[in-house]
Symmetry: C2
Subunit: 393 residues, 2 copies
């Protein structure tokens, strides 16, 4: 492009007294004359579209699948582009917050033998004629790192779940934010680190990325989340306290030890916000029966466990626990739950070589982004969606 700079009187621009008069334009690369949808249509808020419903020219809504089929175009929408930036920023803040505590980043293998963590929800891979599967989490490997004399590890990496759930909050491939650390005295130390890490991320996003947030909030209104006063202390509810809260609200639960339904989780989120004024809390002391084999049972009441879910805006963004670091107890738990120990041989063996008590958490990046920004669908919080019906682009 070439042009001439001339004096002028321009309104509606920051630069008012000069303008560039274009003489020549070269097309370096061309776009097709008609794109699958118009940027003007794609960047309207639901509010604007709803307001135009009864007018003579109701505004067009670009349907979700058309957007996902042309995700590169959909990412040109300023709000969507900014969501991707906030996602990147959150990853970086997660790492920085843990690195400053002495944690080390690891890259654990995603190809694992058998179905180490068990369950049907596993993608199977042919590995030079052997049966392999895709890791449902870095769980076993981050725990083995604890046996390797490392002061704490974290990982930001893909997590694979062959779950046939077509909902607004499930993905078959997402980015896990994982950490694992030795426990000096009590597993509440882990909850403290997880809380501080999330509080660090949330504060820094609001303070340093106001521009991106403002672009996103024009299209998707949301507010900064409410954290406990001072932000240093996590809000922790034990299972029985949560049950009381639900009961006091008139909720009847047939089996008080059954896992929470999505609806109960959302209701609990609302009740906690009313009572404690926070959007982020830990639901601790989960019944052992609904937790994985590697979870440490509570010493006083083994029917409960030293494990917790992290609940944000009434939805689970991750779960964690103190782990069973005693090889014999771990084998007992596997036997009780019918988990085959064959594929776990190395993992269990690692605990016989001396390992400190330890615990950690696994968080879902896209869930955090979705709930933080009040997005109606998790597909808006991920670059390219993988769900049971979508493997492309």
């Amino acid at each position: 492009m070439s042009g001439v700079l001339v004096e002028a009187n321009v309104s509606g621009c920051t630069q008012k007294n000069v303008e560039l008069q274009i003489r020549q334009v070269y097309a370096v690369t061309l776009a097709a004359p008609q794109l699958p949808f118009l940027m003007a249509d794609a960047q309207r808020s639901e509010e604007e579209i709803a307001a135009s419903k009864d007018s003579k020219r109701p505004l067009v809504r670009v349907l979700p699948d058309l957007r996902l089929d042309n995700r590169w175009l959909d990412l040109r929408v300023p709000a969507h582009n900014a969501i991707l930036r906030i996602q990147a920023v959150m990853c970086q803040l997660f790492r920085e917050s843990l690195a400053k505590r002495g944690f080390i980043e690891i890259h654990s293998p995603k190809l694992i033998s058998g179905e180490s963590e068990g369950g049907a929800e596993v993608f199977r891979v042919d590995y030079f004629g052997s049966n392999a599967s895709l890791a449902q989490s870095p769980q076993l490997y981050k725990q083995m790192a604890m046996s390797a004399d490392i002061p704490g590890v974290f990982e930001v990496g893909p997590v694979f779940r062959a779950e046939n759930s077509n909902t607004a909050r499930h993905l078959c491939e997402f980015t896990g934010l994982d950490l694992e650390m030795p426990i000096a005295w009590h597993y509440k130390e882990v909850i403290q680190v997880v809380h501080e890490t999330l509080a660090d991320i949330f504060q820094c996003v609001e303070e340093k990325h106001a521009e991106e947030l403002s672009i996103i909030r024009q299209m998707y209104p949301s507010e900064a989340p409410k954290l406990p006063a001072g932000t240093e202390s996590p809000c922790v509810l034990n299972w029985d306290e949560a049950m009381e809260l639900l009961t006091s609200n008139g909720t009847q639960r047939e089996d008080v030890m059954a896992d929470l339904s999505t609806e109960e989780e959302k209701l609990l989120g609302r009740l906690v916000r009313e009572r404690y004024g926070v959007d982020l809390f830990f639901l601790d002391k989960y019944p052992s029966s609904v937790r994985p084999f590697y979870t440490m049972p509570s010493e006083e009441q083994p029917e409960f466990s030293n494990s917790y879910d992290v609940i944000f805006h009434g939805q689970e963004i991750g779960s964690g626990a103190q782990r069973c670091h005693d090889a014999d107890l771990l084998e007992e738990r596997c036997a009780e739950l019918g988990v085959p120990t064959g594929p776990l041989a190395s993992y269990i063996e690692s605990f016989r070589h001396g390992v400190p008590p330890h615990g950690g958490v696994g968080l879902g990046l896209e869930r955090i982004v979705q709930l933080y920004l009040g997005l109606d669908n998790i597909r808006k919080a991920v670059m390219f969606t993988r769900d049971p019906t979508r493997l492309s682009p």
Copy 2:
């Protein structure tokens, strides 16, 4: 543990005038009395072992497979523990160096439909009854990001290669350091960014991580790599210059357009070090015939391409190129090379919606760590090894 602090006269310690006399010790967790190998044996250098060969008590060598079977113990060896820390540091420096240039971190899907990048070296996955494969690189997705109006992207993530190579430098799963960026005038801009990023990483590792390096170098001697003077300008050799250099050394190449063998690559590395005094260089203008379909042919001489390998200590640590951003040209290239365009439909379509000329690189983290630290085997540069014969632990 509890004890009493008493005055004393201690030799061989930094703290000489006091000592702690232990009264009680509690075992929080126990290790088996006999471990698979002794730390004292595992942390000896090859030099020490060789020197003891003819003595009355030759020192024990802990064999590689025993180490890998008990990798958590092997990682307690101070040098190996420090290698993991250097690996983590290099990732962080890669990200920081690019983030300060305005690049954004992405997480591209690892599950892809068909075998998008083609080739036999692909792991196949059953995706709810459809055929999927594991991404051999984030290539297609980082390019689609260029169509999404993003000023440059990078990714640190797993890369999968079903290559049946049992060598000291191949892994079936490794960590890719990828970047992709728009080109303003010439693809040499990409080479410049890749060089500066690597130079940033190398300088910072030497300056700020001298302690870890010194621990590693006691067991595995190595020196800081030699970079071009000033470190701002990359050393770039064109294909024909490299051929001349090899020929002048007496190497006969039957087919001057064939890819380099590992031996030729190593020889070239030595010759470049002799002539230019550097351990890091770019071998540019590769013959088009040995590069993937998405590589941009050179405008003047289409039998060559705007693509390069990054060579470090005489071995390839990654390759990159200007990409073919013209959808028609891309389809032509696919037809010429017999690459089916079906699975590439979305990828090709994205270039019809307007995309700037762009280029990038894909580097292998573990290769960089291995060559930087002079390790004889890449398995020492990765937390848990995945090769054709090893899927566990």
